[in-house]
């Protein structure tokens, strides 16, 4: 079984906080991390590899430094890594991103399962997975928390919806997007880390993928950002004071006046 995991490098938000005056992120020396949902995807793939045997290829589209993210996943036990990097890919919206990633998966040829994170925490769109599935014309399941590969030719997945859990049988080749419950990522092992250090990471540009330049990057994007602005500040904050009884009474009256439900 050949599994491709799509990962994205995103700015780390661990040490940032929101500036109370400007309501923007305070980012001192922010580093990049692998999108947390994609770490669950890597873990999911490695679990299948452990239990059933599989070849795991990790794929990302990004600037040259995204190679480091790929190397990290090799340290966890992934077999191969491919970086899609080309100035022609910059500024992609989800459509252009999916087009490029799908072209890479098609080029690999023998892929049985693609695993994506539920969403990337920088853009929060959750669109790339389902769009890729459409472009590859494979069935897919979103918000997956459990993958069972016992049968050949299909997988059984448990997906978390707003209403509960659904169990689906999905024919391979297929694509899934995954959430936290799939499992916390493992720690890198020394053996894999040694290998990762020396591993060659394939870099494919558009000359390898052969896409119409009008369908990649900014040129290939259907959507355009026309305005960016700060969200409306909420009404000035009220800090309650006094004894516990006093604060309880004040809060109660404020909430009553604001007509919040539930009181």
């Amino acid at each position: 079984m050949h599994i491709v995991v799509c990962i994205k490098q995103v700015p780390d938000t661990k040490n940032v906080r929101i500036d109370p005056d400007t309501h923007t992120l305070v980012r001192q020396g922010v580093e990049s991390i692998i999108n947390p949902f994609d770490m669950f995807a890597v873990e999911g793939a490695l679990k299948i590899k452990d239990e059933n045997g599989a070849r795991v290829t990790v794929l990302t589209m990004g600037p040259p430094q995204a190679a480091e993210a790929l190397r990290d996943t090799l340290g966890l036990g992934a077999d191969d890594a491919v970086l899609l990097s080309d100035r022609a890919f910059a500024g992609s919206d989800t459509w252009a991103t999916s087009t490029t990633l799908a072209a890479a998966v098609r080029k690999m040829g023998d892929v049985d399962l693609v695993i994506c994170g539920k969403q990337a925490v920088d853009g929060d769109t959750a669109q790339v997975g389902p769009e890729m599935a459409a472009l590859l014309d494979v069935p897919f399941a979103t918000f997956v928390k459990k993958i069972d590969v016992a049968r050949s030719g299909s997988i059984t997945v448990h997906r978390q919806t707003d209403e509960g859990t659904e169990v689906w049988k999905v024919q391979l080749p297929a694509l899934v997007t995954v959430i936290k419950e799939l499992g916390e990522p493992r720690v890198p092992s020394l053996r894999h880390k040694m290998r990762a250090k020396k591993a060659e990471i394939a870099v494919w540009g558009n000359s390898e993928l052969g896409l119409d330049p009008n369908s990649t990057g900014l040129c290939g994007s259907f959507t355009q950002v026309v305005r960016v602005f700060s969200p409306q500040r909420r009404g000035s904050r009220v800090q309650l004071e006094g004894s516990i009884e006093n604060q309880v009474e004040q809060l109660f009256q404020y909430l009553k006046k604001a007509r919040v439900p539930g009181l």
């Binding site: 925490v121 990057g217 602005f229």
Partner: protein, 397 residues
């Protein structure tokens, strides 16, 4: 591609370096440099007082003949015999858009065993036409069948706008519809409007709600968006007229490579975070899982759901399905109470859209107070029981 700097206009003030959410702008040797990390978001362009920053010529995507597309559609989300409230909200919002464009508002209802009453309800909320596809294969949601049906309908009827709720269903299959129709899609919008040229102005939070972005899809139709539940107001009109069209689609639309084996409804009502009007969340400040009864008691009293920080989930005090935040659920209830939660940015991004936020924390410097509407600096073990008593007293009176 990245933002460009006009050196003639740039005063090297450095405001843009702080504003860039990607940390892609730096001040080097008295010059502003934009690195390849630039995501072309345009925030720097807006912050620069001197007009020195600009985005490269924006992409348009392969364009398409836009004439011949008309009408606004709302996907009516149907599950187990009921239409989701968000569909009523979207019909009311869609009504305004359709009136501005002077076009018809349609609803698309997919399911099995659909009666006309449900369609009439959609008309009451603003639809002039309801397309009903009623097939046993649609009894359970699967992305493949649902997207094939909408794609087929849209190819035949050519609407200019399609809206759906940003629910687990909408956010799952609508991207496939957009990809099949080869058009743009904006996720999780909180505001919609129409520009004079007919562009749908789709506004959504970005970078964890710290900025808002307005997005258009200028050269492709239909223009597609998913919209967050509970931001638009459902308005039911009396005496509205509309027609119901039952549509037959080719059998190929109902073929799927996915089989639904089982549907298990959430047993735990308190985990229904996305639907709740009130959420009471607890964090590591609770000190033990047993103490969560305080949170549960308050939530029950206010007919709300129980949320938790990752801190509390990691301690094993609450199941992961209760987690609010970046790796949990994004919620926007009318009232969010954060109790014993520090307010790490990963928690804030999941709840800052709430209408009223109450924070209870004994540390006056906790970052949760930065987003709180009402801040209570107190020991939660003293405050929460008193607050519960106060609500009960009111009820008794």
């Amino acid at each position: 591609m990245k933002a460009t700097v006009d050196r003639q206009k740039c005063t090297v003030c450095g405001v843009c370096t702080d504003a860039c959410p990607m940390d892609a702008i730096s001040l080097r040797e008295n010059r502003i440099e934009v690195s390849d990390d630039c995501s072309l978001c345009g925030i720097c362009v807006d912050t620069c007082e001197f007009g020195a920053l600009a985005l490269p010529d924006v992409g348009t995507g392969p364009s398409q003949d836009l004439a011949g597309f008309s009408g606004v559609w709302v996907f009516a989300e149907w599950r187990e015999g009921k239409v989701h409230r968000v569909s009523h909200e979207l019909l009311s919002a869609g009504r305004i858009l359709a009136d501005k464009r002077g076009v018809e508002l349609g609803a698309v209802l997919l399911g099995a065993g659909l009666d006309d009453e449900m369609a009439k309800e959609l008309i009451a909320f603003g639809a002039e036409v309801v397309y009903v596809v009623d097939r046993p294969e649609l009894a359970h949601f699967t992305d493949e069948r649902y997207s094939k049906c909408i794609v087929e309908l849209a190819r035949v009827k050519r609407p200019e706008i399609i809206l759906a709720g940003a629910t687990s269903m909408g956010r799952s299959f609508i991207p496939r519809v957009a990809a099949c129709l080869q058009t743009g899609l904006t996720a999780d919008c909180t505001e919609l409007d129409i520009a004079d040229e007919g562009h749908l102005l789709q506004t959504r939070p970005a970078f964890g709600g710290n900025v808002m972005a307005t997005i258009i899809c200028p050269n492709r139709r239909p223009q597609m968006a998913t919209v967050r539940p509970k931001v638009m107001k459902p308005v039911r009109g009396e005496g509205r007229q509309g027609r119901i069209e039952r549509v037959e689609l080719p059998d190929a639309c109902f073929e799927a490579r996915v089989e639904v084996l089982e549907v298990i409804a959430e047993q735990d009502q308190t985990a229904k975070l996305t639907e709740a009007d009130v959420i009471v969340s607890g964090g590591r400040g609770l000190r033990s899982g047993d103490n969560f009864h305080l949170i549960e008691g308050l939530a029950e009293l206010m007919d709300g759901a129980v949320g938790a920080s990752r801190g509390a989930v990691e301690e094993g005090w609450m199941a992961p399905s209760h987690q609010v935040g970046q790796t949990g659920r994004t919620v926007a209830p009318a009232l969010y109470m954060a109790v014993g939660i520090s307010g790490a940015v990963q928690h804030l991004v999941g709840m800052q859209g709430s209408q009223v936020i109450v924070a209870v924390n004994k540390d006056p410097d906790a970052p949760i107070f930065d987003v709180a509407t009402y801040g209570v600096v107190a020991d939660l073990f003293e405050f929460v029981p008193e607050f519960i008593k106060r609500i009960k007293r009111e009820r008794d009176e």
